[in-house]
Symmetry: C2
Subunit: 387 residues, 2 copies
């Protein structure tokens, strides 16, 4: 009799999280060792409610569409499991006779994954638990990078290039682009690539460094004066010298959390009011993690591969690990997969190296040496005729 | 001795305006009748300053990249020519011995084009003047549609689908998407396609109809209660029953113009404060007209074709016309080009038909019958597993 498996998604989706799901499902089918394939509907919520989607007989043609489907095809959630929840989790695992459990997510999800593994061992449950990494924020430890980051970085780079060209095509604009990343600047850093793809000026601000607003405005005024248009890219999470976020919508949602965003609009307001320049703010927001046309091909392939590797590892009897990526960049980019202990990954946030940021607003070559292979090749060459 | 030609861009770029430039240049080279190929640097500004870019010897390999280059490769402007400017325009045309002049733009640009043609005739200048249509707003008269619209509509539709899936993957979101179009709702209407591509709920609000905010919030609350997530798409230009724009940034730029935008943020604030629901606003803004990965292939091809047709028409001795598109949709989509009198096109704004809007927030089949062929085929089929 074959094994039963369960996959769940945790946290915000990426453009390629469904590729990992596809990897798990297709590897399970190819193995000949899997009986039932379940997915939790809306992540931890589905596990707690015993609400699983039975994917066992979903046509292969539908599964193959997962690699082009944005967001989470099975649903995700923001619920962080507490100690009080775990007995219910084990109950669902027992009820559906789950042999292998895969949690696909970021830091919080790896922590949950680790706790499920520990509790299952304690309770004598015969369960294999493997974490599948996912986060556009790229802040998981031990892995060279995270599936989902390459695509978000590609989106940031190409969108920034497109906006920079638009800004410089009309001679009177400063455009400010806000990108996701409340604590980690990996994705926003990629937007600095706009300066490498075009002849436009780009200033980039990450949440890893406090922003001196007076210096920021002086830099904007100086760059603008060169008369070629200007793009300013900001992470939604940048904060000032006083340690407070630059933008505060002043709005608190139904859960008591501050509603984020508005950083680009705040910077734009300053540009208009203090510098007297025409400016507009753009915030593609969730599109930065949902957009399929901007997906990085290597990111898509690696997201698929980590799903397959997770399934194969579990069938080999591995448990308590997260799939991680090792990468070599010279002479050509190559990646391979290995297992990292969940206990060492959980709750460690990998920060953007401060030494990769120059003068508060410039992103150095070291970052691009690291990130370019992940963002996919085939970078556009634009025809720039206006000199 | 061959002819000298001049191309200029007017108004905001589209994702395919450079394709029309490529069409003009490649047709000019193929004709064997053109000597010098000039482009105005930054549109009317360049013409007035006598600042032309000489494209005559730009390598074919560079010209061929125009179809993948966003914004305007030669620069555009927002300057509307006045009577006082026209003598200077004629001076530049004389100085560079221009035989054929092509102005690529929207309503204002066609008006300018018409005036240049009239003045040239009056002054006895031997000049052929042809307008090349361009506007993502799709509001030029006499032509079935405008180059640039199909790509902006494709962007709106696919981005909306991606956001709708993201919103419904996490069960606690209302996402509000703001799209360009201050007076015309053609592009925002295309975002309603998200409901056809996904199983998500979408409400769409265009600037053609005043918005009853109480009804809007009631509709949002009712749709949200169905528990599948909700996307609300709004044009930046929607206004309330009092005739005032829903959003007012309260900021005036250096030119005395109100700074636009903030409509989605305003709606989101209402959702959070009055309905107590979690909501976030996204505003990709200029990306809606600059994004290359979302370009519609038929739009790209037609933008190229109108450029070629303009050049060929001028060489045949035509003048005082805009290239326009005729289209048949059954049994399959086919388009052809013809010349429409500039005087009849100039300053007429084609409005979105009110009868295509149902109940204030729904876009009917008639619009999609019209727009789908322009947005390009190859619409994604998503794997939706969560039921």
């Amino acid at each position: 009799m074959g094994k039963n498996i369960l996959v769940a998604h945790g946290g915000g989706p990426t453009a390629v999280i469904n590729c990992s799901l596809q990897g798990v499902v297709e590897a399970a089918r190819a193995s000949g060792q899997v009986d039932k394939i379940y997915a939790a509907r809306f992540g931890a919520e589905g596990i707690l409610a015993g609400d699983l989607i039975d994917l066992t007989d979903v046509p292969a043609s539908t599964i193959s569409k997962l690699s082009r489907t944005p967001a989470s095809a099975i649903g995700s959630c923001r619920r962080k499991l507490t100690d009080a929840d775990f007995p219910t989790v084990l109950e669902t695992l027992r009820k559906f006779e789950i042999d292998c459990f895969f949690y696909n997510g970021g830091n919080d999800s790896m922590d949950t994954c680790n706790k499920v593994d520990e509790l299952a061992r304690k309770e004598g449950l015969d369960l294999r638990v493997i974490g599948i990494p996912k986060t556009m924020d790229n802040d998981l430890d031990l892995t060279d990078h995270c599936p989902g980051f390459g695509s978000a970085a590609r989106y940031a780079a190409l969108s920034a290039a497109e906006l920079a060209l638009d800004a410089s095509a009309l001679p009177i604009h400063v455009v400010v682009l806000e990108l996701m990343g409340r604590n980690a600047g990996w994705v926003t850093a990629a937007s600095a690539m706009a300066g490498r793809l075009t002849d436009c000026q780009v200033l980039t601000y990450l949440p890893e460094l406090p922003v001196d607003e007076d210096k920021m405005l002086a830099d904007i005024e100086r760059c603008y004066a060169k008369g070629k248009g200007l793009l300013v890219t900001v992470s939604e999470g940048i904060y000032g010298l006083d340690g407070e976020p630059l933008a505060d919508t002043g709005i608190v949602d139904g859960f008591g959390h501050k509603v984020p965003g508005g950083t680009a609009q705040h910077v734009t307001d300053q540009i208009v009011q203090k510098l007297g320049l025409k400016s507009r703010a753009e915030k593609p927001g969730l599109l930065g993690r949902a957009s399929i046309p901007y997906v990085s091909v290597p990111d898509r392939e690696e997201a698929y591969a980590v799903g397959r590797f997770a399934l194969e590892s579990a069938l080999k009897g591995e448990s308590g690990s997260m799939v991680a990526i090792a990468a070599e960049r010279a002479p050509v980019y190559q990646s391979s997969l290995f297992l990292a202990p969940l206990a060492e990954v959980a709750n460690v946030e990998k920060k953007f190296p401060l030494e990769w940021i120059a003068d508060g607003n410039g992103i150095g070559d070291a970052f691009f040496d690291y990130a370019l292979p992940l963002m996919g090749g085939d970078f556009p060459e634009y025809a720039l005729l206006r000199g």
